[in-house]
Each structure stands twice: as structure tokens, then as C-alpha cells.
């Protein structure tokens, strides 16, 4: 008998493996894409004429303008749904098994994050396929990798935020607490028209919202005219760093009070 302990990555891959397996065993794993798809179909379909408004200068057209937001919303909601899963694991006691078996408990957070990325990839692909059918141009070439990179950062940041809330509250009641701030950040940005067409309090808030910079850069990548790349990536990386600390803090709290 020798003491058997999985390292940081063993734990992470084990946790991720279970989550991913569960996604594929249950079609509901695509649920995070439903809202973005609904918004995309409703707004891109119903508001196409917004693209003709003077001052609307996005070269990809209105459908592409909406697609980028729908994509980022889908990956962000993928992170939120992972938070719901974590909260569920704490509520039904499964998290206790993970905490008990994991030699390195930080690996649990990485595991959920990897699983969230897999889920976001699936939902992102679904949104993109539908957008391609709707006729969006993909003229960005290699710049599209910039868009993918930002989508990854948004997903990871949302996952870590959700994980933190889930581990602090350790109940499925955490759902609204995870979802509401993510929705607010996503909607208080230039969702339907570019920033220069917004007016009043919404314009002020959108300018202050760090997600606006990410959204602008992502839209630029899609059409091959990157803008605000550095600030967007800096914000994305900063959000990931801050929420990684937040998740680690929440894990410590869960350990202290008993999972």
C-alpha cells in the first residue's frame, strides 16, 4: 500500500472528464446556446434595417454585428451554466467526494474550466453554423483566431466567476446570482447598435463597461479590421486573473466551512 495522490492535472482532467461525459450524455448541454440563438434570430432577423441607419459603420453588416454578440453571449452563458453545475455538485454532496479524493483541490477549478471550454466550443460552433446559414461574412482570415481567443477569455472569466459564486453559496439557489451580473454586463454594451449610436445613460454605462472593448475588438476580428486588440486582450486576461483569485478564495471558504 502506497499513498496514491493525483497531481494538479490528474485531478483537473478527472473532473473535466466527468463533466464532459455528462454533457454528451444529456442534450441539455447545448442549453447555454438557446438564449443567444433566440436573440440572434429575433434581432438579426427583425432589426436588419438597423444596418441602414446613418452612422452604422460596421462593414460586416447587421447580421454579422449581431452574431459576434450572440457568440460571446453563448460562451459566457456556458460559463454560467458550469457555475450552476458546480452549485449542484455542492448541494447534492458530490463535491465532497471531489474534495476528499483530490490531493490538489485547485485542480478541481481547472477541471470545471476545461469542461466549460468544451461546452463553449460546442455552443459556439452551433451559433456559428446557424450564423453562416444566415449569411454572415467570414472575411477576417487569420484574424478570426483573435475572435476565438477573446471568446475563450470570456468563457473562462465567466466560468471562474460562476465557480466562485457557486462555491460560496453551495446551493442551486446560486443560479440567479451567477446569471444576473453576466446578463447585465452583456446587455449594457453596444448590443443592437454601435457605441457611437447609443445615447444617454446607456451610452455612459456602455463606455464604462469593459465588455464593450472586448465586443468591439471581436467584431473587428470578424471582418478583418482589428481594433482595440491590446486593450481587449488586457481586459480579458485581467478578468480571468481576478476571477481566478475569486474562485480560489471561494474554494478556501468552502474548505473552511465544510463542503
Amino acid at each position: 500500500m502506497g499513498d496514491r495522490a493525483g497531481g494538479f492535472f490528474s485531478v483537473a482532467f478527472a473532473v473535466a472528464g466527468r463533466q464532459v461525459y455528462k454533457y454528451f450524455a444529456n442534450p441539455a448541454f447545448l442549453a447555454p446556446a438557446f438564449f443567444p440563438l433566440f436573440f440572434f434570430v429575433a434581432f438579426a432577423g427583425g432589426l436588419t434595417r438597423v444596418g441602414d441607419v446613418p452612422g452604422f459603420d460596421y462593414t460586416g453588416g447587421y447580421v454579422a454585428f449581431q452574431y459576434v454578440w450572440a457568440l460571446l453571449q453563448a460562451v459566457a452563458m456556458g460559463g454560467a451554466f458550469t457555475g450552476f453545475s458546480i452549485a449542484g455538485d455542492f448541494e447534492n454532496g458530490f463535491a465532497r467526494r471531489l474534495l476528499l479524493a483530490a490531493s490538489n483541490r485547485q485542480g478541481i477549478i481547472l477541471g470545471y474550466t476545461i469542461a466549460s471550454l468544451v461546452r463553449a466550443t460546442m455552443t459556439g460552433v452551433l451559433v456559428t453554423v446557424i450564423a453562416l446559414f444566415a449569411g454572415i461574412p467570414m472575411s477576417g482570415g487569420f484574424d478570426l483566431f483573435g475572435l476565438i481567443g477573446l471568446a475563450i477569455l470570456v468563457n473562462v472569466a465567466a466560468t471562474l466567476f460562476g465557480a466562485g459564486v457557486a462555491m460560496l453559496l453551495r446551493t442551486q439557489q446560486a443560479g440567479p446570482v451567477i446569471r444576473t451580473p453576466i446578463f447585465l454586463v452583456l446587455f449594457l454594451a453596444p448590443v443592437f447598435v454601435p457605441l457611437n449610436l447609443l445615447r444617454g445613460w446607456l451610452e455612459t454605462i456602455a463606455r464604462l463597461n469593459p465588455f464593450t472593448t472586448i465586443l468591439d475588438a471581436a467584431r473587428g476580428f470578424l471582418v478583418g479590421t482589428p481594433t482595440s486588440v491590446l486593450p481587449a486582450y488586457a481586459i480579458g486576461v485581467a478578468l480571468v486573473a481576478v476571477f481566478a483569485l475569486w474562485a480560489a478564495y471561494a474554494l478556501r471558504r468552502a474548505e473552511k466551512t465544510g463542503a
Binding site: 500500500m1 502506497g2 499513498d3 496514491r4 495522490a5 493525483g6 497531481g7 490528474s10 485531478v11 482532467f13 478527472a14 473532473v15 472528464g17 466527468r18 461525459y21 455528462k22 450524455a25 444529456n26 447534492n92 454532496g93 458530490f94 463535491a95 465532497r96 467526494r97 471531489l98 474534495l99 476528499l100 479524493a101 483530490a102 490531493s103 490538489n104 453551495r170 474548505e255 473552511k256 466551512t257 465544510g258 463542503a259
Partner: protein, 336 residues
Amino acid sequence: MAAPGSARAGIQVEDLVREFKKGPRAVDGIDLYVEPGEIYGFLGPNGAGKSTTVLMLTTLLPPTSGAARVAGYDVVKEGSKVRAAIGAALQEAALDPFLTGREHLSLQAALHGLGRKERKKRGAELLERVGLVEAADRRVRGYSGGMKRRLDLALALVHEPRILFLDEPTTGLDPQSRSALWSEVSRLARDEGVTVFLTTQYLEEADVLADRVGIIDRGKIVAEGTPEKLKAEIGRPSVEATPAEGSGRDAVARVLSRFGEEIAAQSGAVSVRLDHGAGDLADVVRTLDSEGVRVTNLRLDEPSLDDVFLEKTGRSLEGEAEHEGEAEGSPEEARA
């Protein structure tokens, strides 16, 4: 004391305390030592502090104060080493209803860093050992309570732990499953040298399985020792006789009083604590016969662990065990 991490290291606890925000101390300064390879029964009613102690020893809940070393490692400062050395089947089997038994074992093995081939082999071995081969590929949501308990035990053994924590492992099990689990626990300690820390509210379980027993009540250990020693400490066996028709209670009491002090008995019966132990029984029978005092029932009662509990706390454990509603001081309370 054995070197940290050595196979000779068991469990050492000194003045361990756990307080929750609301309510009294769930664990109130306990000391205990469990020898390597020993089965230690931690006996007490619901809410006594058994599960809270297990949560602390398995690094799932930090102590408020005091110290505990498991497998030679400090549970607070060396939690990851403790977790590598222990296996635990807690009170509620934390299983994912969407995974099968085999998938659970694979996940648990992966968490402990076992390679793919080893995971498969170990999983098959344990499924065989706990009798779940046929149900191995069924989702756990369809398992009975007994099957879940057996799977939980298998999960705790995946990485061949040196120390096994079993928190009320047989609660809710049918007699057959209970007996099978007892056999397996005994085998683990006897054949594999696994140290077992077993909490239970069943006296028989502690009596049958445990090398030594610690009795906890209201967060404090009130008695500790081998079951035999604890029972011997509280006194001698008693004999209870029920008079037959025609032989009055007084006649029976007169005869029995020559063999010891009268104690409380069932309605209509007479009971005495035998001055010279069970050896007096033959004399009791001879005297009753020679004096023509007829009895319908004569019973020798050896002291039980419940008598020990009664002696130490003034309450009966068997009665307390039925009060399932009294929740143990739990982490949920800590959130309040």
C-alpha cells in the same frame, strides 16, 4: 510515535474542538489514538459529534482548535498527504446519479492519479469484491440503498488506502448487506492491515467489529477501551427470574437476594446483580429448585455497551438511536 507517513502511523487526536456559529461545540476537546491495523469503533447517538470528528479527520472540515494527525500527517497543514493515505465512505454516499458504478470507480481512480489500465483493472477487482459486477454498467440512480453503500465502500478503497473512515456504513442496510459489509471490513483490517475508523450508533456493530471502542456523547468521549474491558468495568452480569403461577414474587426475590443486590427488572420479574459473576447461575437454579420456587423464565444478562453508555451518561443509547431526527452538528450549521 511512528514516523509521519510510515505504515505504522495510525490516528492521533489531541484536544480536538469544532464549534459552529450557532449551537454548542459539536466536538468538545476529544483525545484519541488509533493503532495501525486496528478497527476503532466510534459509538454515540445522533448529534454526539461522530460525523463532525470524521469530517475533521478526513480534512473536509478544519478544527476550531486542537491537533490531529492521520497516517502521521497533520490534518490542517498536510491535508493533501492525509487525503492520499485515506479512503472514506461518509454517511450519505455522494454519488452522481447519471454515472454508472464502473464510471464512478474510474473517476475516483483518476482523481487519485491511477493510469488508465490500472483504473480498469482496479475497478473490475473492486466491483467483484463488493458484488456489483452485474450492476456495474447501470446508472447509480437505479441502485438500492445497499448497492450504493457497497459502491461507496469500493470507491473508498480504489487507491488502496492505509486508513479507512466509515461513517455509519450500515445505517439503513438490510441484515444481509450489513453482515456482508462487516465481513469485508474485518477482512480489510485482518488481511490487508488497513486501519479502520468506524462510526456507528449500533451497539452490536461496535461490539462485533471493533478492537476498541470510543463512546462519544455531546462532543466528549465518555469511555474508551475494548468492548470487553468497558463492559467489565461497569459491573457483573445480572440474573432475571419471572415467577411461575403459585410461586410469589417475594419467594423468588428472597432466593435471588442471597446471590446479589436487587436491581430494576421487567414488570413482575426479579433481577439481581450477581456477586460472583455468571458462575453463580448454577447455584441460583439449584437453590430455586431445592426450595420449590418455580419460575417460568430465567435469564442471564451480560453487561452490554448500552449499559456502559447508560452508566457513563445516565441515558440509554438504544433509545437515543431511534431519534433519527436529531441532526448531527453539520457543515450546514456552519453556513448559518
